[in-house]
């Protein structure tokens, strides 16, 4: 019994090592190559350590304008998706109505729709019916369609834990709706609102499929990366990948740290990754 247990443990350990090697080795290769003086993006032959690819990347004006566009789009998506997500979350957690499950299904459906479909349908609607050609605006709306669903789910998961008696007590003491919202409801939802802002920003910043079809001739950073990777590949792209990886690692650690601290403060059990855009059950 004991020996079979330890064999089992070795198998599990080996499996985990293999899995995480599979997840990380490609990213590590990509990172190392960014520092190889070889102009073909490969590890071998190693032609010496260099930072020149970062310099080359910084010289690319297209990259800077794409980055700027990405910021405009991401901030706009946050400004649209978080208020919509809040509205959806209030609707589904605070009001009881018969079609609730159906409405929930419809509001969550953009997450389950392929990104390319959201891009195409947003583009067709605005271009042909509103006479607004594809550009940053259509990209913002296309992305907000599904990012609002993520924000809604995130806010809902906190709103469900809200103790309604707090509001009732405030009303009994003569508070107005406005006071109750600003002094009780909003402060309670604040951590979820901040998380959903971060999530919306990152989702928007990373989006490719929806943006590609909605944006027309403009470029965000992922569109720029996609165009570059389809033509001539230079290690400057590895340099960009390294910047992305570093920012992601910092972001992921900071986000998890903040979330855990928040949950410990609230005295609830630390729940699995709501950062992960998955449907919560």
């Amino acid at each position: 019994m004991k020996s079979s247990n330890s064999i089992f443990r070795i198998i599990i350990g080996a499996y985990l090592v293999l899995f995480f090697a599979y997840m990380f080795l490609p990213l590590i290769f990509m990172t190392i190559i960014a520092f190889n003086a070889n102009e073909i993006p490969q590890i071998t032959p190693w032609k010496g350590f260099t930072l020149m690819w970062f310099g080359e990347l910084a010289k690319d004006d297209q990259m800077w304008s794409a980055l700027w566009n990405s910021f405009i789009v991401a901030f706009s998506v946050v400004a649209i998706s978080v208020p919509i997500g809040l509205g959806g979350a209030l609707l589904l957690t605070r009001l009881q109505f018969k079609a609730r499950n159906f409405v929930y299904g419809v509001l969550v459906s953009p997450i389950l729709t392929p990104g390319i479909i959201l891009g195409i349908s947003t583009f067709l609607f605005w271009d042909s019916y509103m006479n607004i050609p594809g550009g940053l605006w259509t990209a913002i709306l296309g992305q907000s369609t599904f990012i609002s669903s993520y924000c809604m789910l995130l806010i809902m998961s906190r709103a469900q834990r809200f103790d309604l008696t707090q509001e009732e007590a405030a009303f009994d003491l003569g508070a107005t709706h406005r006071q109750v919202f600003w002094k009780i409801t909003l402060p309670f939802l604040r951590p979820a609102l901040i998380s959903s802002m971060a999530l919306a920003f990152m989702q928007s910043f990373d989006n490719y499929n929806t943006t590609l079809f909605a944006i027309g001739v403009e470029q965000t950073l992922p569109i720029y990366i996609g165009t570059k990777l389809r033509s001539f590949i230079s290690p400057a792209m590895n340099a960009l990948a390294v910047v992305f990886i570093i920012l992601t690692v910092i972001g992921a650690i900071a986000y998890e740290y903040r979330r855990r601290r928040e949950m410990i403060k609230a005295g609830v059990k630390i729940t699995p990754v709501p950062a992960a855009p998955v449907l919560r059950m």
Binding site: I12, Y15, M23, F24, L27, F29, I40, P41, Q42, I43, T44, I84, G87, L90, L95, N101, G105, V106, L107, L112, P114, G115, I116, I117, L118, I120, S121, T122, L124, F125, Y129, L141, T145, S148, H177, R178, F181, M202, Y208, N209, F213, I225, G226, L229, R230, I233, M237, L240, A241, F244, T248, A252, E256, R260, P272, V273, A276, L279, R280, M281
Partner: protein, 297 residues
């Protein structure tokens, strides 16, 4: 109905109710429903020169769909997209199930947090860059070819991007983590006492999984499969970055239609893709006997 409004106004106030109606209304009508319907409308109309729009020829027809169903090449590409996405989904499920179970029920303490971070970091890295990593690995002068030559298995480098393998590999790598989190989320809520009891009573681990864990994890498995399949079938990036120029994928066919300015045909193809993903979701719900209601609670 009157009750509904009365309660709503009492709990949230006029401004609160107006806020919900405006935000959710705009989202539902102008961002979700109408664009979707317009895409469908487009798919049912023939492509016409500008002056004939709204004219007698501008009527609903199934012609665009007929074009698809009578084009053998496009049908073959469509089926390739289906089976490849199925492979990606099954592989992801097989690989991720043990990981999710280990994280939810076996690992303890700080280890969980560390492993979780190890999943979140690659998950958050841009999809294109994750595919780029495989573009480098699978290149003619790439690390895989170098390794195989070094080991004496092959003499000349293999062009991995010729067939469909590279795209499938890339899709698996890029979307596999969408399977872990939904399954983890449901397994986490499984009462560990049930597992201990079954073990004490002499159940084998196979039986424990078959009788307890899998039935409990069904909604998570259904969601994970739906997401993975949808992402694989709908990816533009994977074939663009890892596909061979001679072998197209369905999203590329859709893209070409739009680039050739035949928006109506493109909309029809996009609708077919959409229907495929909806159908897959309902099949998943059926197989795992999960109601839409269970999924949405």
């Amino acid at each position: 109905m009157r009750d509904f409004w009365n309660t709503a106004l009492r709990d949230l106030g006029k401004i609160g109710v107006a806020y919900i109606l405006i935000t959710v209304g705009t989202w539902l009508v102008f961002m979700i429903l109408i664009p979707q319907l317009i895409m469908f409308d487009y798919s049912l109309r023939p492509m016409l020169p500008l002056r004939e729009l709204g004219g007698p020829k501008d009527v609903w027809t199934l012609k665009n769909y007929m074009v698809f169903f009578s084009n053998r090449l496009h049908m073959a590409i469509f089926f390739k997209t289906i089976w490849s996405s199925l492979i990606v989904t099954v592989v992801a499920l097989v690989i991720c199930y043990p990981i999710a179970f280990y994280l939810a029920k076996v690992a303890r303490g700080a280890k969980v947090g560390l492993l979780m971070l190890g999943l979140i970091i690659p998950y958050w890295i841009n999809e294109l860059l994750r595919l780029f990593a495989w573009q480098i690995i699978l290149a003619d002068l790439g690390i895989l070819n170098q390794l195989l030559i070094f080991l004496g298995i092959i003499v000349d480098p293999i062009n991995f991007r010729m067939g469909n393998g590279a795209v499938i590999l890339g899709m698996t790598y890029a979307y596999i983590l969408f399977m872990v989190f939904p399954i983890y989320n449901v397994m986490e809520s499984l009462d560990s006492n049930q597992l201990d009891a079954a073990r004490d009573l002499g159940s084998s681990w196979l039986r424990i999984h078959y009788k307890i864990v899998v039935p409990h994890a069904k909604p998570g498995i259904a969601v994970g499969c739906t997401m993975t399949f949808m992402l694989a079938a709908g990816t533009v990036a994977a074939p663009q970055l890892l596909g061979s120029p001679s072998s197209f994928w369905f999203t590329q066919v859709i893209n070409t239609n739009f680039e050739c300015a035949n928006w109506n045909l493109g909309a029809a193809y996009a609708t077919v893709l959409m229907l495929l993903c909806v159908m897959f979701m309902f099949i998943m719900l059926k197989i795992f006997k999960v109601g839409l209601k269970e999924l949405t609670q």
